[in-house]
């Protein structure tokens, strides 16, 4: 198992996703002899999981069943242990495309945080690219490295525990792209420029507040970046529902008696079942994420 390439079968040491049902899942580390409790009963790794194909339906001890999924960076983002606020796939998608990441890209990132974006970057730049990720919180940096090892992508990433605003990324003129998710990104723009290749590259800064964006844009301009552009992307999910709307009763004279009865509250249920219109609808949930952050992109040219 590796987050950077697919495998068919579940193996000892893999990180896998146990899928219980609609939006309900959790990650598990497969261990010879290990077992995992689910609400449907126990999963015994050696007998129930190892050697099975990813995507299989597995029956738990109480007779209920779950699916075991191959861990993609997107599933990991939905299931990872939060050590900080994390970036979700909607923003990650945009960051990846607008930074022009692809196999072979060299990327600098700060902060590592919970590693949500890091996993997605590594997936995209593998097998020949490299991620340099800087995290100022020591425990977080250590935990991230541990996860990268566990997920078999540690050869594609270097984690460093330092303050990017003070000490930069520790590399010069190697990066195709730099990503910043720190409280004062404007303090790190100089370091970002230094990390980018001589011939140029792209930079992205993620900030929740508009004042951070304002300062970052100024700093980018001062450092000679071009194509500075700020955007925001929001996900809107639709639940697919079958909805029934009642047809009103105007007291059609033909069936006068009938219609009178249907206006009686106690019989309205059956009446509504007769006189109603069914349709499929994509329904917005009542509340959704209203803001994650602003994404500011810019280009460093040769000049």
């Amino acid at each position: 198992m590796s987050f950077a390439e697919y495998r068919e079968l579940i193996q000892d040491g893999d990180t896998a996703i146990v899928f219980l049902g609609h939006d309900s899942m959790f990650p598990v580390t497969i261990q010879q002899g290990g077992q995992t409790q689910t609400k449907y009963g126990v999963l015994r790794h050696s007998t129930d999981l190892i050697g099975k194909r990813y995507g299989s339906k597995v029956t738990c001890s109480k007779g209920g069943w779950v699916y075991i999924l191959y861990p993609t960076p997107e599933l990991w983002t939905m299931n990872l242990p939060h050590r900080t606020q994390i970036l979700y796939s909607t923003d990650i998608s945009m960051i990846t495309m607008m930074l022009e990441l692809k196999p072979g890209s060299v990327v600098c990132e700060s902060g590592t945080g919970s590693g949500s974006l890091s996993h997605a970057i590594i997936r995209t730049i593998a097998p020949t690219g490299h991620l340099y990720t800087v995290e100022f919180h020591q425990q977080r940096a250590e935990k991230a490295m541990e996860e990268f090892r566990q997920h078999n992508v540690d050869h594609l990433v270097t984690v460093k525990n330092q303050d990017v605003c003070k000490n930069g990324f520790g590399v010069s003129h190697v990066a195709d792209a730099v990503f910043l998710d720190i409280p004062s990104p404007w303090e790190a723009i100089g370091h970002a420029k230094d990390a980018l290749k001589i011939e140029g590259g792209r930079v992205c800064s993620f900030s929740p507040c508009i004042e951070q964006v304002q300062r970052t844009c100024l700093a980018l301009e001062e450092h000679g970046f071009t194509e500075i552009s700020t955007l925001e992307i929001l996900l809107r999910i639709y639940d697919v529902r079958t909805v029934s709307l009642q047809i009103p009763d105007f007291g059609k004279p033909v069936e006068e008696k009938e219609s009178f009865e249907s206006s009686d509250a106690s019989k309205q249920v059956s009446a509504s079942q007769q006189g109603s219109a069914l349709f499929k609808s994509g329904v917005s949930p009542r509340e959704s994420v209203g803001h994650t952050g602003y994404l500011t992109f810019a280009t460093k040219s040769l000049f």
Binding site: F19, R53, T128, H130, T230, E232, I237, Q268
Partner: protein, 524 residues
Amino acid sequence: MSSAVLRPCARCVLSSMRRAWRPRKYCVSHTWVVQAAGAVSRMAAPVQLIGEGDYVVLKREDVFKAVQVQRRKKVIFEKQWIYLDNAIGKNYGTMFEITGGGNLQMKSNIVASAEPKEAGADNRNIVDDGKSQKLTREDIEALKEKGIKGQEIVQQLIENSTTFRDKTEFAQEKYIKKKKKKYEANITILKPSTRILAVMYYAREPGKICQLRYDTLAQMLTLGNIHAGSKVLVMETCAGLVLGSVMERMGGYGSVIQMYSGGGPVRAATDCFGFPKSFYETLYEFPLNKLEALISGTGSYSSRVIPAEEEPEKMDEESSRSDNEKQKATQDLVGDCLAESTESMETSLAESEEGVKRCEEVSENHKGGQNVDKKQVAMEKKQKQDERRKREAEAAKLLQDRNADGLIVASRFHPTPLLLTLLEFVAPSRPFVVYCQYKEPLLECYTKLRERGGVINLKLSETWLRNYQVLPDRSHPKLVMSSGGGYILHGITVTRDTTKTNTSCSERTEEPAPKKQKVAEDKS
């Protein structure tokens, strides 16, 4: 004053500089590194310069145009004819000015932005009588004929405006921007990328890409977990843009099978990426109208493995027929291209004050080098036919393994039949993503996929994109926004039950039963 990115293809080997920082493991053991080794070698040069024959993107303000660099070939961009000869040998990201005769001249430095200095507090005293500009149209034409550069003309216009200094800063800026757009012509030459081409197509020819907005494409690539080394099915009618973006993300590692309808696969936008030849070795195509035969195991695809040599006669016929069709389609394409080339050709992305105009065919790029000997043509045609037949058989074999790592659909066809058919070829525990310009077909598709089973975590979604203007004291969302970027349905495949198991947990219906009608409406 925008310039742009300059960089060699990032898939080059890691520099020793990085290695010095910290010892690291290499992934040489991975089979796909070996498989694509040929592609890697091409990337050795430290900084790639603009070369003849390169596919590049011209950029002026927010407007992009993809072209191929050819000597002494006129290119029209933003209503101006230009020659790209002088760009050859320069760095990607260089900014040029257009001089007389349409030649490019490198700009030595970023032009000093003519920032407003003296701004009136408000515009209460401005009466617009159309007489505030002292320069006449004739004056301006005269300046242009004298060869005065755009930047200077704009400066002259400002100096000869009687009202400029009384305008608010905001109004001044608008004025300068408008005039600059009209008289200044700085062009940057960029290396193509998914970012640039997706933005360009959405601005210039949204109809050609089923209105697929770039942020929606970004979602598809990420949700589809497109990455090096996988085997991906692509069914698109987006001019090959989606295909190209998938190929970029795969970097020549793994394989892509493009499904197509009609005479042949469409790859006009794919060509604009300027991929190395080696990338195309990992690209296969297969016609939709042979899928049924493939699935049912009838006709040419009766055995699971068909070596190219043993291909039956019938297959041969089909191949040559579809080849004829393709030829015809290509002719249509070229004809269409020529017919349209006299029309207005540019579209502005962000500043669409003039509305969206018709765009020219990007696929002009295909026309180069058609004057070859007829015999050679015939020979090449035969070779191509053979090659095509062989590739189709290889594609069939790849499909028959039914273990694709992903499926990406973005087409003008109804998504439901496509999904129901193509999912058969995808391995379990793999993501699939389908785009549709309309929401309603995806509602149906969602329902049908639930009925089919073998898919979990189905989500129907849309993204909202807002672009911002961030300027000192003048920050706000852009005044014009795209209100439709299309819809995405995505999910994950799992092994399919043939026997219905007895209820319990896992994948519940996910669609709750229609809410019980409350008995009385009176409970307010």
